[in-house]
């Protein structure tokens, strides 16, 4: 069996009286993994330990089978890091900075120059690569940060809030780049973000932290599987349809209106084939009775937002 990408065992880190990580244990597989949690959950501390910037107080952690503390140099060649905060020198050009970062990762000078041009093309900055970074837009600066993380051909990318400060279009482009990096380039990505919708779209798995501990580590399929609820969209007299439907599913399911959608919650009733078929039949009959058009009927999938709202205590609401 292949070694996990990241394997942490009882990892703890104390800063004075604050326990940033408290016996954190997790095993993360290759692919694109989202790291979520409220502010102060311990995400940044975990990332800093992986990068060798902070020593753990106790516990063990390995990356690609290598102990982070004992093989720090080897691990640094395997990891590309894109920080959340501004970290770009404004008077250097994109090409100069990524080449410099390649050199700092141990690449020979000519290789660093070649790879700098390549990764800047991959992130869509080839034309602007000789402009000073200080003249770049926020989106371009984020791309340079991604390029410098890629320049030394790491096996793992650690991205801290990569869409921070981007407008919706820029966010889409950055997510596309990250997806491409993970799927086409074959790199594993650990992605820290507060934006659960983004993670839901591109991640293979999610690790949720709270107060330095693991809350859950599951694949996206497990997290966002079908809930058994039904979503129905009709064209016509919606209140009449709802009334008709409520009368038919009484005792089996609850009917709620969510804007243009009607949500049929199965409640505690057994989600058997029979029960589901009864609800389907009830929808069909209610459509006929209310004389509305049935536009769409689908099984509702769980969303990360809902799951985290349920599992995160009031102090740690994940926005």
């Amino acid at each position: 069996m292949a070694a996990p990408l990241i394997d942490a065992r009882a990892l703890s880190r104390r800063f004075g009286t604050v326990m940033a990580l408290d016996g954190f244990t997790v095993s993360i597989a290759s692919g694109i993994t989202g790291l979520v949690g409220a502010n102060g959950a311990g995400k940044s501390t975990f990332i800093r330990i992986l990068l060798g910037l902070v020593e753990p107080s106790s516990g063990e952690v390995s990356l690609l089978g290598q102990d982070v503390r004992r093989s720090a140099d080897a691990i640094r060649a395997l990891v590309g890091y894109m920080p959340e905060h501004d970290c770009l020198p404004p008077d250097m050009s994109g090409a100069e900075f990524t080449t410099f970062m390649g050199r700092l990762s141990g690449l020979p000078a000519h290789v660093a120059r070649e790879r700098s041009a390549e990764v800047l093309r991959h992130v869509g900055l080839f034309e602007e690569r000789y402009r000073p970074i200080g003249t770049y837009s926020t989106g371009m600066a984020q791309r340079v940060k991604l390029a410098q993380a890629l320049v030394h051909d790491p096996r793992v990318l650690i991205l801290d809030e990569p869409t921070n400060g981007l407008d919706p279009a820029g966010r889409e482009e950055m997510l596309g780049l990250i997806r491409r990096t993970g799927r086409e380039f074959g790199l594993s990505v650990l992605l820290s973000s507060h934006l659960l919708g983004e993670l839901e779209r591109i991640c293979d798995g999610i690790v949720q932290m709270d107060r330095g501990r693991l809350v859950r580590a599951e694949s996206m399929d497990e997290l966002t599987g079908e809930t058994g609820d039904l979503l129905v969209e009709v064209d016509g007299d919606l209140p009449r349809f709802v009334t008709a439907l409520r009368a038919r599913v009484q005792g089996v399911a609850e009917v709620q209106v969510e804007r243009q959608w009607v949500r049929v919650q199965m409640g505690d009733a057994p989600k058997s084939v029979n029960a589901t078929e009864r609800v389907h039949d009830a929808v069909r009959d209610a459509v006929v009775e209310a004389d509305v058009g049935l536009l769409r009927m689908e099984r509702r999938r769980a969303r990360l937002d809902d799951l985290f709202r349920e599992s995160t205590p009031a102090t740690g609401a994940v926005s």
């Binding site: 920080p83 501004d86 700092l104 290789v111 390549e118």
Partner: protein, 287 residues
């Protein structure tokens, strides 16, 4: 019409040689060295280095020409010339050392740099090495210009070299110690803050304060001469340069300074302490 085509080769893996921390260290030193002279930057960044280099070289070239025109009647005053240029070297460090030592912290690049093949100590030593190397060049080249110029204007350069050949060692020692002391003191002050402007003020402040204190101390009869001699590093460097090249002033004749070996030892120690403080400050990472 151009027939060139851009081929997207896709993402390519790299399985070649990695130079490790030595390559990273060299890159950091070279980048810092270039920053000391504003190379690879706009004209504004080059203004002060260019001004200082011109101002330290022109008097040396002028002296060589003047001595050549006098057919060897005049002697080149190495110590006096380098002594008069020390303030310019201090100005150079005030402007350029913060460029190298503060920018990574001011723009928060440092935590990112330390995720690569470098430890905090290696980073600090690389940055300080860049400062020392640039300072060595600026402090030693004028003396070398005088030395080579003296050989070039001689009617018999070979005979002149046999005569002044050993003077190369004082030239190198003077340039090296000047770079070591001024560079290290400037690095120590610049390492105290991440803001370039403040760092420049701190460097200038140190040298101005030392000069002011020494002027005041001249009136204190109770202060031992040795202590007074070393209160102002620039004045002490000037005295050492005069001693190294066998030159003297009226003040030195009236009040003889300590032997040159004392200057060498004190400057070695002072530079080491300042460098150590600077290195310790630069190693600190608030990741």
């Amino acid at each position: 019409m151009s027939s060139s085509t851009i081929h997207n080769l896709g993402y390519r893996r790299y399985d070649g040689v990695r130079e490790g921390w030595t390559g990273a260290w060299q890159a950091l030193v070279w980048q810092g060295f270039r920053s000391m002279f504003g190379l690879g930057r706009g004209l504004r960044a080059k203004a002060i280095p260019a001004f200082v280099i011109a101002m330290v070289l022109l008097p040396c070239l002028g002296t060589v020409v003047a001595v050549g025109a006098s057919n060897g009647q005049q002697v080149i005053p190495y110590g006096l010339l380098i002594g008069s240029q020390l303030l310019l070297l201090a100005l150079f460090t005030a402007a350029q050392v913060p460029e190298v030592l503060c920018r990574d912290r001011q723009h928060r690049v440092l935590p990112l740099l330390l995720t690569r093949a470098l430890s905090p100590r290696q980073y600090a030593l690389a940055r300080l090495s860049a400062v020392w190397a640039a300072m060595w060049l600026v402090a030693t080249v004028p003396l070398l210009v005088l030395y080579v110029g003296e050989l070039a204007i001689a009617t018999d350069p070979a005979a002149r070299f046999a005569e002044i050949g050993p003077r190369l060692w004082p030239v190198l020692l003077c340039g090296t110690l000047t770079a070591w002391v001024i560079g290290s003191l400037a690095a120590m002050m610049a390492s105290l803050t991440a803001r370039r402007g403040y760092a420049s003020m701190l460097v200038v402040g140190l040298f101005l304060a030392a000069a002011a204190v020494t002027t005041g101390a001249d009136d204190l009869a109770a202060m031992p001469d040795v202590v007074r001699e070393f209160l102002d590093p620039l004045r002490a460097l000037r005295t050492m340069a005069m001693l190294l090249f066998g030159e003297t002033t009226r003040a030195m004749e009236v009040n003889p300074p300590p032997p040159v070996m004392v200057f060498v030892l004190v400057f070695c120690g002072l530079g080491a302490v300042a460098s150590l403080i600077a290195a310790r400050r630069l190693e600190r990472v608030d990741a």
